[in-house]
Symmetry: C2
C-alpha cells in the first residue's frame, strides 16, 4: 500500500482537446509506462504537413524511467507515431497480435523492425511492468483485437478503456468482457479514463453485424460487379463483405496498398477468413463474369490518391468503373472529408455506377460507444476519479457532464489538457502542473523543422503568391548596376499582366532613386523601401498582397 | 402559337453539377432573359480565391438580345455575381422588394447603385419581357420574399422553382401558392426546372416555426445572456429569435457587419418586426442585466473573421463570452465548414459557455424541399419536360430518378451540364450543343486573371515553399561574378538549417562549374542545371520538393 506522500501521475501527451495522437503517461516514482503512441492528420492550416505526432520531450527527459509502451489497438491514432518515438526512445512494446502485426508493417516501412522488442499479449493476460501491472481486457471496436487496460498501481487500479463500443453480437463472437469491468468495479477502481468520441450521440451504437445484413440485402438482386470501399483496418467489415460475397457465389479481390497490406496481415494472423479459391488477384478480374466479382477497396474517405478515387477518375491501372457497377461506400466521412467524399460520389454517378452511401442505406456503424454504452461502463466501473479522454473539448466537457449525471461529484472529474499532470495521492487528486506537450509536425524527412514561421509563409504564398525583386548594386559606389528584375509566381498570369509588372519596376526604381538621393545605402533600408513601395502599388492595382522578396546582389 | 421550326433554348450557365452560382438563360429567337446571377465560394484547391462567378461570355456575345435578369431570391448564390455581370452587361433587374433591397446593398458596395435599372415585383405580378412574360409565384425558403417563376414562352409555360420548401405554417403567414402550381399544371406546363438540393432526404423539411418552439423552450429557464448565431439573410429565423426575446422580456442587439446590414434593410422594408425600444446597440449591452440580453450574430459557419468566432477568441471589440452565456448555433455546417464550426464550439465551451447546436437540439431546419415536397410539386405541375437544377451530379441524378418514379419517361428528363443548350421545339426536346461556361475566379480586383497556372503555383508553394537562387554573371565573359545567393520561404526554418542551405550553394556552384567547363552559356540551360541539381539534392535531404526559382542577373 502506498504511503501518504506517494504520488501517481497521469499525464496525457495527446488525445485531449483533439481527435487523434492519443498518448498517455502513467508515472510512479522512478517508473513510467506509456499507453498508445498515435498520430493525427494535419489541420487545414498545416499546409504541406504529412502527419502530426505528440511532443515526447517529457519522456526523453525521463528516458531511464520508461519501462514500456502498451497499445490498446492498431489504429493510426494509437500506433502511428511509434516509428518516430522509438527512434528516440526504444522501449518494449506490448499489444495484441493484430495490433503488433500492424506495428510490424509500420516498422518495416521505416526499416527498424529488427530493433524493437515486441511482446504479444492476449485478452486476460497480465504483464508486470516494473511497479505497474497491466491487465488486457477484451473490448469491441472498428478493428479486431482492441483491448481496454486495467493498470494496477501502488495507489489503486486505473482503467483506460481505449477506443471501444459495446457490441453484443460482434463478428468475432467474443463480446466485450463486461464481467471483468463489473468485477474490477466491485473491487474498487481508482480512476477511469474513457473514450469520449461519441458522447454527444444519444442511445447505442448499432452492432457491426447490422452492416452485414445490409450487405446481404444489397448483394441479393444484383448482377453487376460490386465494389465496396471501407477502412483497411476494419477487418470485421471486410469479413462481412467476404461473407456476403460467399453467400452469393462471388470472388473477392482487394485494391489499394493499405487494403492489400492489412488484408494479407489479417489473413496470415487468422483474423480474416477467406474460403479457399475465393480470393482472386485484381489482375484476374476479367476472367470472371460481372456477377461473380466483389472488389474491396480503399478510398472511402475520398482521398484523391486512393484506389476508389482513381477508379472514379479512370486513373486506376487495374480497373475502371463501368456503367451498372454497384459501389458501396461503407464508411462515414471523417469531419473535414465531406467534400472529397462527395466529389468521388459524383464522379462515380457520372460513370453510371449505382452508388450506395450512408444517407441512402445502413452501410456503416461507428466503432465508438454512445451515451448509453458509456453510462453502462461508468456504472460498472464506479471509479473514484474520472478523466475523459479521446475527444475535443466539447466531447470531454459532455463526458464530464454525463459522469456528473450518474452521481459523480464534480471535483473528482478532470477535464484536462495535453501536458497537464493529474497527480493522485491516497487523499486527493489534482492538476499539479504541466510538462512539454504539443504538435510536432512531420513534413517529408523533417520532424519538427516546420514551425509557425514556415507555416505562416506557406499560407501567405498560397493566398496571393509571391514577387521576387532582384537588384544588382556596385560594391564601389552602391549604385544600381542592373535590375530591378521581377519574377512572380502564384500572383497573376504574367503574360497577361505585363504592364502591371512594368509598373512595378518603375515603382521600385523610384524607391531606389529616392534612397540614392538621400544617400541611403544600408541594405535593410533599401529592401524595406522596395517592399513598402511595391506593396502599396500592388494592393492598389489588384487588392492582393503577394509576398515580396527583395534581393540585393553586390558585384 | 410557335411554328414547327421555332426553338426555345434553355442554357444553364451555373448551378448544375455544383452547389452555387445559379444562372439560367432562356432564349427565343432574338430575345433572352436570364434567371438569377449567383456566385459560389471557392473550393479547397482554389487557393486565395475570394469568390467564383459564372462565365457569361455567351451573354456578352449576344449582348443585344438580353432583355432582363429576373431574380428568385436574395441569397448570394442567386444574386452574388450581379455586380460583376452588370459591369459588363447592364440590363434591367426584376425581383421582389427584399431581394432588390439586398441587391442594392451589394451595388452600393461596388459603387454602381445609380447605374442599374431595378424593378420591384410582388408575388402574383406578371411582367412582359419581350416575347417572354414572367409570373412571380410565392414560395417559402430560408429568406423571405422568395419566388418561383412561371415563364410564358411562345412554345409553352416553363416553371423555374428557384430554391424552395413547402412550409404550411410559415413565419410571414403566406404559404407557397400551391393553387397556382396546380392551376398551371392543369393548363399544361412545357418544362419544369426544380431545386435538387435536398433530393437525397426522405420525408418533409420541418416548418421554420418548429425552430421558434425550440427557442421558446431554450429561453424559458435561463438567467444568463443568450447569443444566437445564424445566417444574416434568414430573416424569419431572426424574427423568431426576436419573438422569443420579447416573450421573455429581453432586448435584442445585432452583431456582425452583414447581420447589421441585413437586419437594417429588413426592418426598413418591413420584413423584420422589432417592438419599440427592444432593439439596442451592442455598445450598450452593459446597461442591461444578463437576463435581459439577446445578441443575434453572424458566424454560424465558424468563419474565423465573423463576430461569433471573434467573441469566442476574445478578439471582438464590443463583447466577450462570459461563463454561463448560452450560445445557440442556429444553423447546420455547410459541407466543408464542419471543422471550423467545431473549432468555434470548442472555444465557446472553453470559455464556459453553454453551447447549443444541432446535434443537441432542433435549432435549425433546412430551406429546401425534401423528397415528399418535390413529389408534390412534380405531381401538381405535371411538366412535359423536366430539368433538375441546383445540385451536384448526385442530386440531379436522384432528382431525375424521383421524376421517373412518378411516371415521367426517361427521354423527357434532362440531366445536363452548365453550358449545355437544351433545345425545345413543338415536337421534341434535346441537347443540341453547348456554349462557353465555367468558373471565373475573383481574387481581389482581378476577375478571371487567376487561372490554372497561378493556382498550381500557389498549391506548390503552399505545400513545400520555395527557394530562390540568384547568380550574377558578367556580360563580357559569362563568368559568375557573385552568388549563388539563396533565399527560401515556407521551406525550412532557415536559422536551424544553415548547413542545408550551405550544401545547396555548393550544389549550385558545382552545376554552374560544369556548365562553364562545357562552355554552356544559354541562360535557359543554366537555369535548368541549377533547378535539376538542387531538386535532387533537396529531395534527398528532406523528401520535399520546394519550388525552385533560379534568377540570373547580368552585369
Amino acid at each position: 500500500m502506498a504511503k501518504k506522500d506517494e504520488k501517481l501521475k497521469i499525464i496525457p501527451l495527446g488525445g485531449l482537446n483533439e481527435i487523434g495522437k492519443n498518448m498517455t503517461v502513467f508515472e510512479y516514482k522512478n517508473e513510467i509506462i506509456v499507453v498508445d503512441c498515435g498520430l493525427s492528420f494535419p489541420e487545414d492550416e498545416m499546409l504541406g504537413i504529412d502527419v502530426v505526432i505528440p511532443d515526447i520531450t517529457y519522456l526523453l527527459k525521463n528516458r531511464e524511467k520508461v519501462k514500456a509502451i502498451v497499445l490498446t489497438h492498431g489504429h493510426e491514432d494509437h500506433i502511428g507515431a511509434l516509428p518516430y518515438a522509438l527512434k528516440k526512445i526504444n522501449v518494449p512494446l506490448y499489444g495484441t497480435k493484430l495490433t503488433l502485426g500492424l506495428v510490424e508493417n509500420k516498422l518495416r516501412e521505416h526499416r527498424m523492425l529488427g530493433d524493437v522488442n515486441m511482446n504479444i499479449v492476449k485478452p486476460g493476460d497480465i504483464r508486470n511492468l516494473g511497479v505497474f501491472s497491466v491487465e488486457f481486457i477484451k473490448t469491441s471496436h472498428s478493428i479486431p483485437d482492441a483491448v481496454s487496460l486495467a493498470i494496477d498501481t501502488p495507489l489503486g487500479k486505473i482503467i483506460h478503456t481505449g477506443d471501444f463500443k459495446i457490441d453484443y453480437t460482434p463478428i468475432d463472437g467474443d463480446i466485450i468482457n463486461l464481467h471483468r469491468f463489473a468485477q474490477l468495479g466491485s473491487e474498487g477502481v481508482l480512476a477511469l479514463l474513457a473514450d469520449s468520441t461519441n458522447v454527444e450521440r444519444p442511445g447505442y451504437t448499432m452492432s457491426e453485424r447490422t452492416v452485414g445484413e445490409t450487405f446481404e440485402n444489397l448483394f441479393k438482386n444484383v448482377d453487376s460487379r460490386i465494389i465496396v470501399a471501407t477502412f483497411a483496418s476494419n477487418v470485421h467489415r471486410i469479413q462481412q463483405v467476404i461473407n456476403a460475397a460467399y453467400t452469393f457465389n462471388r470472388k473477392v479481390a482487394f485494391s489499394g496498398r493499405s487494403m492489400v497490406n492489412v488484408a494479407n496481415a489479417a489473413m496470415e494472423l487468422g483474423y480474416l477468413n477467406v474460403p479457399d479459391g475465393m480470393h482472386i488477384d485484381i489482375n484476374d478480374l476479367n476472367r470472371y463474369p460481372d456477377n461473380e466479382i466483389v472488389v474491396i477497396t480503399t478510398g472511402s474517405q475520398g482521398e484523391p490518391m486512393a484506389a476508389l478515387s482513381r477508379m472514379a477518375s479512370s486513373e486506376h491501372r487495374k480497373m475502371d468503373i463501368q456503367p451498372g457497377d454497384m459501389v458501396i461506400i461503407s464508411a462515414t466521412p471523417i469531419p473535414g472529408n465531406e467534400i472529397k467524399v462527395s466529389n468521388v460520389i459524383n464522379l462515380l454517378f457520372e460513370k453510371g455506377a449505382n452508388v450506395i452511401y450512408e444517407s441512402l442505406a445502413d452501410v456503416h456503424v461507428s466503432g465508438h460507444a454512445c451515451q448509453e454504452e458509456l453510462k453502462l461502463i461508468h456504472s460498472l466501473v464506479k471509479p473514484k476519479y474520472f478523466i475523459p479522454v479521446h475527444g475535443e473539448y466539447r466531447h470531454l466537457r459532455h463526458h464530464a457532464s454525463l459522469a456528473e449525471s450518474l452521481g459523480m461529484s464534480r471535483e473528482n472529474i478532470f477535464v484536462a489538457n495535453n501536458g497537464k499532470i493529474i497527480e493522485i495521492t491516497s487523499d486527493e487528486a489534482r492538476i499539479s502542473g504541466s510538462v512539454d506537450s504539443g504538435n510536432i509536425l512531420v513534413d517529408g524527412l523533417g520532424v519538427g523543422d516546420v514551425g509557425n514561421i514556415v507555416l505562416r509563409d506557406r499560407k501567405h504564398l498560397s493566398e496571393d503568391g509571391l514577387m521576387v525583386v532582384v537588384v544588382t548594386i556596385s560594391k564601389e559606389d552602391g549604385k544600381v548596376m542592373s535590375g530591378p528584375d521581377i519574377v512572380s509566381r502564384g500572383f497573376v498570369y504574367v503574360r497577361e499582366s505585363e504592364d502591371l509588372i512594368d509598373g512595378a519596376k518603375i515603382v521600385v526604381r523610384e524607391a531606389l532613386k529616392k534612397c540614392e538621393d538621400n544617400n541611403i545605402k544600408e541594405w535593410a533600408v533599401l529592401k524595406s523601401a522596395i517592399k513598402d513601395s511595391l506593396k502599396g502599388y500592388l494592393y492598389e492595382r489588384t487588392k492582393r498582397r503577394p509576398m515580396i522578396l527583395p534581393i540585393i546582389m553586390e558585384v
